[in-house]
Every structure is written in C-alpha cells, then in structure tokens.
Symmetry: C2
Subunit: 118 residues, 2 copies
Amino acid sequence: MKKTRDLCDCDVLHEAIVKIVSEQMPKQEEVAKLADFFKMFSDDTRIRILWALECNEMCVCDLAVLLNMTKSAISHQLKSLRLSNLVKYRREGKTVFYSLADDHVKTILDQGFVHINE
Amino acid sequence: MKKTRDLCDCDVLHEAIVKIVSEQMPKQEEVAKLADFFKMFSDDTRIRILWALECNEMCVCDLAVLLNMTKSAISHQLKSLRLSNLVKYRREGKTVFYSLADDHVKTILDQGFVHINE
DNA sequence: TAAACAGTTGAGCAACCGTTCAACCGTTTA
DNA sequence: TAAACGGTTGAACGGTTGCTCAACTGTTTA
C-alpha cells in the first residue's frame, strides 16, 4: 500500500493547522464506511423505501405499487439496504416483509430535513 | 408531467397499508432535495473535507496538502459543497478560506458514526 | 507592469450506479 | 405435480460523477 507519487500540486500555507487537523482525521477505512453508509441515503428510490418502511413493514409488491416501479428495481435496492444493515426481512409464505433494522434511519432523515428547510 | 404508462409489474397485496403509507410520503421534490443533500456525504473526499473544516477553517492549498490531492480536485468538491450550502468562504489576499456553513454537518457525521460502529 | 501565486473553470475520460430484461428460486395452490 | 405467484439475480445499457489537464481569473509582489 505504498504511494508511488505525491498527488498534491502545491505547498502548505499554514503548516501548524494542517498538522493539528491531520492528527484529528479519522482513518481512511472509517471514512470509506461512512461514505458507503450515506450513499444509501443519496438516491430518491432508497429514501422513499426507507420513508415507507418507517411507516410500516411492507412487502416487495406493495413497495413496487407505492413507488410505481418494477419488483426487480425495488428488490435490487432492498438488497443494497440489507447489505448496509438498514433493513431486515422476514418471509411469510410467498411474501417477504421488509422493515427498518434500527431507528437511526429516522434520526438521519430528520436531520436532513432540518438542513434543507432553512 | 403526465405519466405515460404504469411501471409497476404486480398487484397490490395489502391495499390498506399502501393507502396509509402513500398519504404519509413526502413530495417527490422534497425527496430529491434530501437525496442531493446526502449525496454530499457519500464521497470520501467530501467527508474528509467536511471533517477537516470542522476542526478549522482552511484554505484550498492546505486541504490539498492534507488530503494529498490537487488543488483542482479540491476546488471542484468545494464548489459542490458551496452549492449545497454546506461550506462558506472568505477571501484574504490571494488565499480563500473555507469553513462550515452551519453545525448540522457535525450532527449528521456523528449519527453516521453511531450507525457504523455497531 | 510583468511574474508569481492561490484558486477556479470546462472539457474529457474512466469508473460507478440505477434501471431493465430475462431467467431463475421458493412457496403455495389447483 | 405442474402452474401460479412473490421475489431474487446477473448481465447489459445509459446516465452520472470524480478526477485530470490545461487554460483561465484575481491578487500580490518584484
């Protein structure tokens, strides 16, 4: 994992600040996890799915009707949300019910609303 | 803005739930704004910029050094963050100092950390 | 006033992402 | 047991996005 070259094209202007800040920066691995987490909220479809599941546990067909999309499209997005531990599911006969995995989702969405309504 | 066809490929299974949830769904326009907002947190570079600015106001050069990237790349991302009202700037001679526009950023990032550290 | 420097911008390219499509799996029902 | 149904999957495509590069602006300095 060695850098082959320096990509920065300029000199540091305020060395002391850069030093202090660089000590406080989180690990690149944590940053990547965080970016992946927020990526789940960066798409219209996923936000609407999460919003819906906040109201009620729902199956794939109902979500497809609600959002006027194909089951396939919904299922793909649910898979991403599952892999990010944002939703969980249970099967009941032919039907699979999805619901939110925890209650951070509401907190996150609410914070977003606070920001855009200013 | 009329739909030309129905994209959904299945029947509703639980009509009552779909009806209730559909009444609680936010407007598509609000969802889009929300997605755009979270898009700003969905990239490693932008997260690291925001994190750095939370520690200290910084200029483009210092950010470039800190993140080992070109001034151009940093400047492009700062423009996105500016357009999303997440950062503001002030010029002092040749130097432009960027800082966070409000304190929602910290709240949002912290909530993200809570989720990924479980 | 010209050179130097901090920063910005737009075009272009490669990588990524969301949807579609068609084939498939698992459960129920006729 | 075969058909029907709810849901999943992988490949393919078109659009988006992040970086690079080169040219540019605005401010300071020699």
